[in-house]
Symmetry: C2
Subunit: 590 residues, 2 copies
């Protein structure tokens, strides 16, 4: 098992090393046998170096070189010389190694797919052979960027006097929102730990303990029915500060993004980031995480079409709904088929239908022409700045739904017209603030927290808690990059009376509140400082920095959307004795 | 909920700030009402600052100050002035703040114990009120040192081109050694994830993927019957390198300890650390993790006492056992009672009895005098360097047991004679190497891996795998600080045939091996580089650096030895619906 250790890695030799005798270790990327010359590209994490065997003088070495196949691990010793056909694409492209010795350290079977960036192989095969997939330069680059992120994050928060503290992975189950993953306790049979959905309660406890500034790159877990962009375990940059207001948290967060974008992409981003109220985000862009790199803004035209005689509009407005629209600039050329497909798209988001109006060849053309008088049309034209060539798509519905449908249409139009494609590598950062503290869940027949139950109401809205809870705004903020919610946080409640009132509003009895969150309520009694924080999605940040849409491309060992790890076969069946030890049995075996 | 934000923290004001108007936020540590003057010590993570209220001129402020109690959170505004009675123990001890305004941000109930370092409160109360316990300066200091460790670790490995990669927390269950904690899968009912006992297999996969140098501060989990110095979840510094030998891993590890001891304690440690074979460690010190800060070495005296006529010795030697002893220097004064209690102590480690021999007042005195001829005594005296005043404790048993008992006695004697106490703040670092690859488990009737099944045998011992497996030494190394095993690692097997042979030796059938570790065996086929690594116990390192014997003093939210989190009540019962969702039920409810 002895082998000759490398003197250099495969990415570092340069023209200044010519004449040196070197030894490299690495993987064979390619072998090209040209008869008199055999070229081997040797690869490691640091790069690729070309090896050359001059076959005429070295029968033994030549034979060894001809045994070598892709992905073999070898040791190569030889002299660095100037390369005849330089490869400007490789940092090592000016040189090659004339081999004097070659040793096969380990053989490799033929891989099920090539180790290259552009790959036909389906993702399932790639995940099963993740150890080979991870050799592809693009995945190596992604994980190297992820590593750079860690270092920038550690440095940034350390410099800003944050202290890194590990919170437990096995904690108390306090399901609220998503489902907890549970861990049965063997020593305390019949009881369970839960994996944290976030370290929320612990970081608040740390503030009450006086740690002042906490940060952790924290693993979090949610047992959800998975969507393609979610993982059952994910990573967040979790922080909390004492004696601060929302501006402090936003400003410290902005500094991190400045550092990340600067050091990884060499892009300077301006601060402070734009702030937009939830109301503005919804009414202008139809989303609480709008992509503001392009306009295509929305307009409420209820007052113009009220009493137009069009039943759908009239009824909606009579039922406190609204009629609003998006001006799809320059889309008047969309065919009936195009508009039908947009209508189908809108229906996926719950639209009952889609009205439209075009301004083309100086004329107005509309699906609801007969209900629109000249005067109405004129008012709408002014309101939405309708110009020749524009297409208006109109939705009538309850406030939130109407804007959400239009927001989805807005993105779809930006996609179809190539606007999004042109915006690749453009980054916009902004905050959405002034969220409602509560939403009303008609199904559950109770209020639910829009962020979480520990979020503080705005000081001036506290009196509304008793009389009009839905009007209460929260000290909450979400950070949005390019239309993706990258993180969110809030100033927390540090007053136990307000916290109790909040639990009550959420329909938690005193007993339930104590049994679930008693330790926080208890801690709040012993001198809690004003505090707040934020959690930023690390996986999503790395996706944005590496330009991938696939979360599995930035995680070393991801799971499928069904929660499977195809490489190792987790989750798997376990021995009956393991279950007996834990005091549990499977339901279907009872 | 508005409050005046601090201009400074409670640890930063100095004589150069005199005359400044400042605002501080913090916790009231003490209030001393002297009538004309009221002194308040205000505390935060950064320090303590003295506030003073001149009560004569400020009736309103005085009243507020008199409302304030311990652990209230307040805002204090005033002028910095020179303190009359300076306190040289505090960095802020030269100044005080003459208060102009005081605002109570949050009240506090009377804490169940005082927030001071020296505490009568039992640990159970402290853990229940962990949010208060963590306010104690000593725990704050411990966690700040732990934070410094993280930063030094991140920096050190980043500088050395390691990349930080997160491995999964929900992985495949491959119990080997300790029990796994299991996580039932809801989406894949009847199947389970396991929490990692270590990221061992994943880091080997990362080497096979070509990442070359991996590091992670990794959470690990073991479902053990807990001992006082163990936690069900613990943290290790986990690393792995490719194209290296054992010297490379030891050397990179040593560099980390140099950095930690230098930056945290200001102590320079010499490298390379001493290396000692397992055989030497056992025969000299009776331990595979010897404390070598003091000598008290052991000696094998089998050959001198063979055929002495003392049945116990004779039979032991006839059964391939040994007779060995420790020279307890200067302990000849131990009374019969002392020796009896040492005998009881030895019995806890499995000793059947303890023979002894004293050299006192020029004479030999022994529990087995009648079996020891002058000639035997003379030979023993020379072998163990017995001098006037020494006490010899003699054990006869099977090799490993005999030395383990003597090793335990060695530590106990060092404890009783005050040797250990004198060594506080002395640090010794060394490696134990050349461990046997395998042990024979008589109960299970099979070989078990002394480290783990992925550890490589020494090249020169590979032929012994087939003929005398117990003689095979491993490429394994443990790092010992002051007699505590701080970490261990090995060069791994990168050859799939040797890995298969190893599994076979361990009694794993081909099917079992494939079902448990198939993904590793599979990966080894596709070009695995030589690789190795180590895992260092972070909790234990921080314990050593902070000088505590209690692991719970270096973890923010520890669990008791029964795996309970007393603060939040984890583990706890969960709703039946949660269990139904997971497809499991409790055994005792069937």
């Amino acid at each position: 098992m002895h082998f000759y250790k490398r003197t250099h890695n495969c990415g570092e030799l340069r023209i200044s090393d010519v004449g040196r005798k070197v030894t490299l270790n690495g993987w064979v990327a390619t072998v090209r046998d040209m008869g008199k010359l055999i070229f081997i590209d040797l690869r490691d994490r640091y790069g690729i170096t070309q090896l050359v065997v001059l076959s005429e003088n070295n029968p033994e070495l030549t034979q060894k070189a001809r045994e070598v196949k892709s992905e073999f691990v070898i040791t190569a010793t030889g002299l660095v010389r100037v390369r005849e056909n330089k490869n400007p694409k490789l940092p090592t492209g000016d040189i090659e190694i004339v081999m004097e010795d070659l040793e096969i350290i380990n053989k490799a079977e033929l891989p099920p797919f090539e180790i290259v960036n552009e790959l036909e192989a389906n993702e399932e095969i790639r995940l099963k052979y993740r150890f080979l997939d991870l050799r592809r330069p693009i995945l190596q680059k992604n994980l190297l960027i992820r590593n750079e992120c860690y270092q920038i994050i550690h440095d940034y928060f350390h410099t800003n006097q944050f202290i890194e503290i590990e919170t437990p992975i096995m904690m108390k189950s306090t399901p609220e929102g998503a489902r907890d993953f549970l861990v049965p306790s063997r020593i305390n049979k019949g009881k369970f730990y839960a994996l944290p959905q976030s370290p929320q309660l612990y970081k608040q406890i740390l503030m009450i303990s006086g740690f002042d500034r906490y940060v952790q790159i924290a693993k979090c877990f949610r047992d959800e029915d998975l969507r393609s962009d979610r993982q059952p375990e994910f990573t967040q940059i979790d922080l909390e500060m004492s004696f601060v207001d929302d501006n402090d948290i936003m400003s410290i967060s902005e500094g991190l993004f400045v550092a990340l974008w600067d050091k990884i992409l060499g892009i300077k981003i301006d601060t402070p980031f734009q702030r937009m109220s939830y109301y503005e985000a919804m009414t202008k862009y139809g989303s609480d995480k709008p992509d503001i790199r392009f306009s295509l803004e929305l307009s409420d035209i209820s007052k113009y079409v009220a009493n137009s005689g069009f039943n759908v509009f009239d009824n909606t407005i009579a039922n406190s709904g609204i009629v609003a629209c998006i001006n799809a600039k320059g889309c008047a050329g969309f065919s009936r088929k195009d508009i039908d497909s947009l209508t189908d798209y809108a229906k996926k988001y719950g639209a009952k239908g889609l009205a439209w109006m075009k301004f083309i060849n100086g004329e107005i053309n509309s699906s609801i022409a007969k209900f629109l008088t000249e005067s109405i049309i004129e008012k709408i034209k002014i309101e939405v700045k309708l110009e020749e060539g524009d297409l208006l798509l109109i939705v009538a519905d309850e406030w939130t739904k109407c804007y959400s449908i239009l927001g989805a249409l807005r993105l779809e139009i930006a996609h179809r017209t190539g606007i999004l494609e042109k915006l690749r590598n453009k980054y916009s950062f902004h905050w959405v603030v002034d969220f409602p503290l509560l939403e009303y869940d008609t199904e559950a027949g109770r209020y639910v927290a829009m962020h979480h139950p520990f979020t503080s109401p705005k000081d001036e809205d506290i009196p509304l808690l008793d009389i009009n809870p839905l009007k209460v705004r929260a000290k909450a903020y979400d950070i949005i990059i390019n239309g993706a919610e990258i993180g969110g946080g809030s100033i927390r409640i540090h007053d136990q009376e307000i916290q109790s009132k909040m639990f009550k509003l959420l329909g938690l009895s005193q007993e339930e509140a104590m049994s679930k969150f008693g330790f926080l309520l208890n801690a709040l009694k012993y001198g809690a400082p004003p505090h707040g924080g934020i959690a930023l999605g690390l996986d999503r940040i790395v996706m944005t920095l590496t330009g991938t849409d696939n979360i599995r491309d930035v995680i070393a060992f991801p799971k499928t959307t069904s929660g499977l790890s195809l490489m190792d076969g987790a989750p798997s069946k376990v021995d009956q004795t393991q279950l007996n030890d834990l005091g549990i049995r499977l339901l279907n075996e009872s």
